[in-house]
Amino acid sequence: MTDQFAHAETVPAETVPAEQGRPVEQDRAFGFETRQLHAGQRPDPNTGARAVPIFQTTSYVFEDPESAAAYFNLQEYGNTYSRIMNPTVAVFEERVANLEGGAGAVAFASGIAAQAGALFTLLQPGDHVVSSSALYGGTVNQFKHLLRKMSVELTWVDPDDPGAWRNAVRANTKAFFGETIGNPGGNVLDIETVAAIAHSRELPLIVDNTFATPYLCRPIEWGADIVIHSATKFIGGHGTSIGGVVVEAGTFNWSNGRFPVVADPSPAYHGLQFHETFGTYGYLMKLRAETLRDLGAALAPLNAFLFLQGLETLSLRMERHVDNARAVAAFLQAHELASNVTYPDLPGSSYRPLVEKYLPRGAGAVFSFDCAGGRAGGQDLIRGVTLWSHLANVGDAKSLIIHPASTTHRQLGDDELRAAGVGPGTVRLSVGTESVEDLIWDLEQGFARVATTAKKAATA
């Protein structure tokens, strides 16, 4: 070891004792709005830069051979190669982990990659996963095809039925999976109940919290073990970048005998036993040092920077998204050409008790409804609007509209469509932060077109 380096590490640290002129850090519980601005970042020690610098570099110069070896052996926290870690990405990871209340996070190039990474870290061929059937179509594809290709079995369950979760568990089951707010059906997951069932069988619960964001719901506080986000959506918030992130609570016992792939000596890391050696941080270390390293779906530093810009205003945007979503949902519920409005925050929704428990600040801003006239009606509505953007994304500050049966959920059969809460005339909205009267005005334009077409058809 080099004495000079050790000196630099330990003596002029940012937290010298008070008697030496600088305060030690108090153990304060900072508020969400403070943490969305500050967590994960400290001003750059070299330059003092206040904004998070974009470290656009593939690799990092080592101090000496011993330091390099320590980094690769995971004996020291060090940067080696941006496929595995990057200082800009690390700020984003820590900020999301902090906001979700997890032990840490690992970012990926997309939400789908994050999900694959979270699962591949704990699965091996022959394993079994129990999943909610009310999921984003892209996740259904990944589970149905990619997981099965890897010889992982799958059972879909009605997420609202605790007995279905309980009865689906087998000897080879390794995880439960669900979404806080189902896409696009608006199911609200009873996280505490499903987590308790998972834990009674020594299984982790994985929750996709994309639609709620940590501002509206923090699944770890209700017992979830792993939280996944498509950062592409509300975290980024402006439709600029694709990315994802996995947060782990750090409390699951991966050494309970069910997870040799996490607990046993790893052939992919010279015999290291990740959970025994790193404890709380074992799963996350393995997720980064093996899964991310080997899948290669690293988040770009520029995209991490853009997500950090998004996170700085997360609470402000989500408040406005929720306000607008409530107004649009109420408008649709009263409209004669709309039915089955799935916004779980609506007074009549069967999910109201779960919304009050898990989503007291609001149930997000993505939901669907059935447009009169079935498939043709839904398409007419989309043709008729001029402010809502017709595209395949959600969680942008701009309002978005799509017809799932012909786009995001196109690969699904009729039964799977129904299980995912999608009908032929279903239209999915992602309510943005525009002036809400403009959003409603535009939907009126769309419904006018639906009505005109229906009238023509009737008189033809």
Partner: protein
């Protein structure tokens, strides 16, 4: 039920890490893949003198290994424990006997009697915390790998 919060105070942890120079690790393994070795290697790398206390070893990390804390011939600032919880009362008594500054018990090394013995003897107790993680949280690079340090600061720090 041991009140762990009183043994996990942020200010105490920072004071111990800033003022210590010699750390005796009870139960340090010579196996490079064991958690205790990771911690010993890390602490030595960050400028602390690490003294192994393990009767089954002769030398670890370039330092002579002692059978007991009572055999260590130099002053010990921190006694860091990687042993089963029921070994703690005996280790705490030895920490008091050698005048150690702090007794630092790793994750899961929780024993109320051991804590009481150390405190009654004037030894600061930190319990169910990893000394490597806490060093990395306040003085090191834990934030480089996306871990939640729970730290919020706008103070411009020295180089890391």
């Amino acid at each position: 039920m041991t009140d762990l919060a009183r043994y996990q105070d942020a200010l105490t942890i920072q004071r111990v890490l800033h003022t210590a120079s010699t750390i005796a690790i009870v139960g340090l393994s010579s196996n490079e893949l064991r958690a205790s070795y990771f911690v010993g290697y890390y602490l030595r790398r960050h400028g602390y003198r690490v003294i192994p206390v393990n009767p089954r070893e002769s030398e670890i990390l370039g330092e002579k290994s002692y059978a007991s804390l009572l055999d260590v011939p130099v002053p010990v600032d921190v006694v860091n424990v990687f042993r089963a919880p029921d070994a703690l009362p005996g280790i705490a008594a030895e920490a008091v006997a050698i005048g150690a500054g702090a007794l630092w018990c790793q994750f899961g090394v929780i024993n109320a009697e051991g804590a009481r013995i150390a405190e009654d003897g004037g030894v600061t107790v930190i319990m169910d915390r990893c000394i490597k993680v806490e060093h990395a949280r306040y003085m090191g690079r834990m934030h480089w790998l996306g871990f939640n340090t729970s730290r919020i600061t706008s103070v411009r720090a020295g180089l890391q």
